[in-house]
């Protein structure tokens, strides 16, 4: 499963971050590293991007980029 498929209010844990180059490094550097817990908070009005909460801050990223992040569900709300 990937981060973009999760519905709001789901708590997930990152399994792996795919992709390559600068984008992948930026995702990792923003704290989206394996084992990190991420809470999906909302989807933007037009359906993209999404808003997530991790490491005590709020981040927004596009579904396309979120699809690079493999996750497992920890808690469903």
């Amino acid at each position: 499963m990937t981060l973009d498929q999760m519905s709001p209010q789901t708590l997930v844990q990152i399994v792996a971050v795919n992709g390559k180059g600068l984008l992948r490094r930026r995702l990792l550097e923003m704290g989206l590293t394996p084992h990190t817990f991420v809470k999906i908070r909302k989807v933007a009005p037009m359906g993209d991007p999404i808003e997530v909460y991790l490491r005590s801050y709020v981040l927004t990223l596009r579904k396309e980029d979120a699809s690079l992040i493999e996750v497992k569900v920890v808690e469903h709300d």
């Binding site: 930026r26 037009m46 808003e51 490491r55 927004t60 596009r62």
Partner: protein, 669 residues
């Protein structure tokens, strides 16, 4: 000797606020991640001419991603400041400390400033400062920059650390540790001879940075050895080199935070932000609310508050002018001089100066939006729409600023991470009608559409936006083929804008505007007065249609015949408008020799029909921006040719659209 101190931290962690507190100087502060787009410098209070502080753009890491990150990194590596003040947002320690772990590698003395401590404490969370100090082995100063708390402590820490040599802990551990040390041995000598920080070089090598390989002159043999070391590390770590490196840093940070940062709950601001966002980024209400907010701001600016203040200003300026002219008359001053002062300077500068209240109000609201954190939400809400025209949500912010003034808007494009997005945004931003064009709308509306002011205003703004969209689609499919860049943006907590920040920003803009009125507009008024008062033999002419200016204007004006206004005064006004948009009004005022508003309106009716007045408006919204914006464009594009092409494109679009509107409108009217 002046010692340089670099202020560095993530975006939006309060760098500029601390900079203002430390230097006492004014500079723009915004709550949109990455608002500081240039390095700003100032001397630290009580250390004038000694300690110079540099406010660098916010960065998340030392791997360059946006052009402003490159600015910061290059500064650190090339200018070699004496001290780094690493400021971090204490409500968000983990991510902020990531940059810290990289800064540690640079071998520059450093102190750590924990900002936003007020928010940490109020929410019942706490940070063990002494524990942190022990683990990171450097001076740590907790502060609240916006509340002016702890600023003295920062100054003391600066004084204390300034002359110490860099001593930094080694954070590496695990399998990466071995690899780092093996590679260190290989590159140590060349790094030393180039005066580059060793650990930083090694990191770059592990990240596969080709530039670093070249810089250190690593030969083929060593490359093989390094590759071998890294492959072995990847095997042991069970992941690739990049992830392993980031992971090592974060696991160090997690360990530190586990023992020193005690989080009971999200901060009050974060909880409040989530609630506010339930409305402001709501699925159905988010976009209508944004539009309502913008309409409300425009209504307050141009109508409810702005209009009466502007009338007042107009009246005061009028009375002042009358008083001056009367004074000159009673003192028997020569007619030409009276004309210069009255018809030239006072009419020109005065007509522009009356817009000061409107501009102050508009910038007041824009900086409130910026400072509150709403701009980042706008980017979040609008990203998908902008993506359709080949841009990202981040481009929206410069464009919004463009409604105030194109110059800071064009500079704000530095926050964009791709060259392609930046260039497109720079080209499109001037289509957002800037506040300097308001006097022009005011003039035409008063003369031709006095009862339809809001409608005409809205139409004009919409035409600008529409042309920007069409241009974007055009550019996207021709010159700028390619994908928009990824959009990974922090949404900062909403914060109540501090009055000081907003005040400083508005003051800056007001000063700019007044400065412009008394320099460019002042000069332009005199030049225009001269050109329209004299003929080619330098005789004073009472009828300005005999003047030099009339000759130049008449030469150009047939070009505008297809747009409906073949009049030398209109074309002259458009030309002088390039110095500053407000000049269009001052020029027309001077050229029509109107002493009162009524006379001016009558004179305008002689130049335009309602339809051609409208196409004139459309042309002024879209055609090339003022010289200041042109200079900013050139600077940001780093190219004269591209800047000239940009304004040619804008003027071309202006002509085309105005032409179509006039020709089609003509069929119906």
């Amino acid at each position: 000797m002046i010692k340089k101190i670099a202020l560095i931290g993530n975006q939006n962690c309060g760098k500029t606020t601390l900079f203002n507190a430390l230097t006492g100087s004014s500079q723009h502060v915004g709550n949109f991640p990455g608002v500081t787009v240039e390095q700003k410098t100032g001397f630290i209070k009580k250390h004038k001419d000694e300690l110079e502080l540099i406010d660098l753009p916010g960065i998340y890491s030392l791997s360059p991603y946006t052009s402003e990150e490159i600015v910061s990194i290059r500064y650190l590596l090339e200018e070699k400041p004496c001290l780094i003040i690493n400021i971090i947002d204490a409500t968000n320690m983990e991510r902020n400390l990531y940059l810290t772990t990289q800064l540690l590698e640079l071998n520059i003395p450093m102190i750590l400033v924990l900002n936003m401590m007020d928010e940490v404490i109020v929410s019942g969370n706490s940070i063990d400062i002494d524990g942190l100090k022990e683990r990171l082995e450097m001076d740590i100063v907790p502060i609240s920059a916006s509340k002016n708390e702890g600023i003295e402590d920062v100054i003391n820490a600066i004084e204390k650390n300034l002359n110490q040599s860099a001593h930094h802990i080694d954070i590496c551990h695990g399998v990466v540790h071995k690899a780092i040390h093996s590679i260190s041995h290989i590159v140590e000598q060349s790094a030393q001879s180039l005066h580059l920080p060793l650990r930083y070089c090694v990191t770059k090598i592990i990240e596969g940075d080709d530039d670093m390989y070249d810089k250190l002159h690593i030969d083929q043999g060593d490359r093989h050895i390094i590759e071998h070391i890294l492959e072995k590390m990847e095997e042991e770590a069970g992941t690739d080199r990049e992830a392993a490196l980031v992971d090592m840093r974060y696991s160090f940070i997690e360990d530190v935070c586990q023992h020193t940062v005690f989080i009971e709950s999200e901060t009050k601001e974060q909880i409040r932000s989530e609630k506010i966002d339930r409305l402001l980024t709501h699925k159905y209400l988010g976009i209508p609310i944004f539009i309502l907010i913008m309409l409300f701001i425009f209504y307050l600016t141009f109508s409810l508050i702005g209009a009466p203040l502007q009338d007042l200003m107009d009246m005061l300026i009028g009375q002042f002018s009358d008083w001056v002219i009367h004074l000159l008359e009673t003192n028997g001053v020569a007619y030409w001089l009276r004309s210069l002062v009255g018809d030239g300077i006072l009419a020109g500068v005065g007509s522009v100066l009356s817009f000061l209240p409107v501009i102050v109000i508009l910038f007041f609201f824009l900086s409130m939006l910026e400072d509150s954190g709403y701009m980042a939400r706008v980017a979040f809400v609008m990203d998908k729409a902008l993506r359709k025209i080949g841009l990202s949500g981040r481009s929206f912010v410069p464009m919004l600023i463009g409604f105030g003034c194109s110059v800071p808007a064009i500079m704000a494009t530095r926050t964009l991470s791709s060259d392609r997005d930046r260039k497109m945004t720079i080209i499109l931003t001037p289509f957002m009608s800037c506040s300097a064009k308001l006097p022009i709308y005011g003039m035409i509306i008063a003369a031709f559409f006095p009862h339809k002011a809001p409608l005409v205003m809205l139409t004009i703004y919409c035409i600008g936006i529409l042309v920007a969209i069409i241009s974007a689609i055009l550019l996207k499919n021709t010159i700028f083929i390619g994908e928009p860049v990824p959009f990974v943006l922090e949404l900062p907590a909403y914060r109540i804008p501090t009055l000081k920040n907003v005040y400083l920003n508005v003051l800056d803009k007001a000063k700019d505007f007044i400065h412009k009125a008394f320099t460019i507009i002042f000069m332009a008024s005199i030049v225009i007065w001269f050109l329209q008062s004299f003929n080619f033999t330098f005789d004073f002419v009472s009828d300005s249609s005999q003047s030099i200016l009339a000759a130049i204007g008449s030469f150009v004006s047939p070009v505008f015949a297809p747009l409906g206004f073949n009049d030398w005064r209109a074309s002259t006004a458009l030309m002088t408008g390039i110095t500053a948009k407000e000049s269009v009004v001052s020029t027309l005022t001077v050229l029509t020799q109107s002493s009162s508003t009524v006379a001016f309106n009558q004179a305008l009716a002689g130049i335009f029909t309602p339809l051609s007045a409208f196409t004139f408006l459309v042309f002024t919204v879209l055609y090339m921006p003022c010289v200041a914006a042109f200079a900013a464009t050139r600077r940001e594009l780093h190219s004269w040719i591209q800047a000239v092409l940009t304004v040619l494109f804008q003027t071309g679009m202006a002509y085309l659209v105005a032409f179509l509107i006039y020709q089609i409108g003509h069929l119906f009217i």
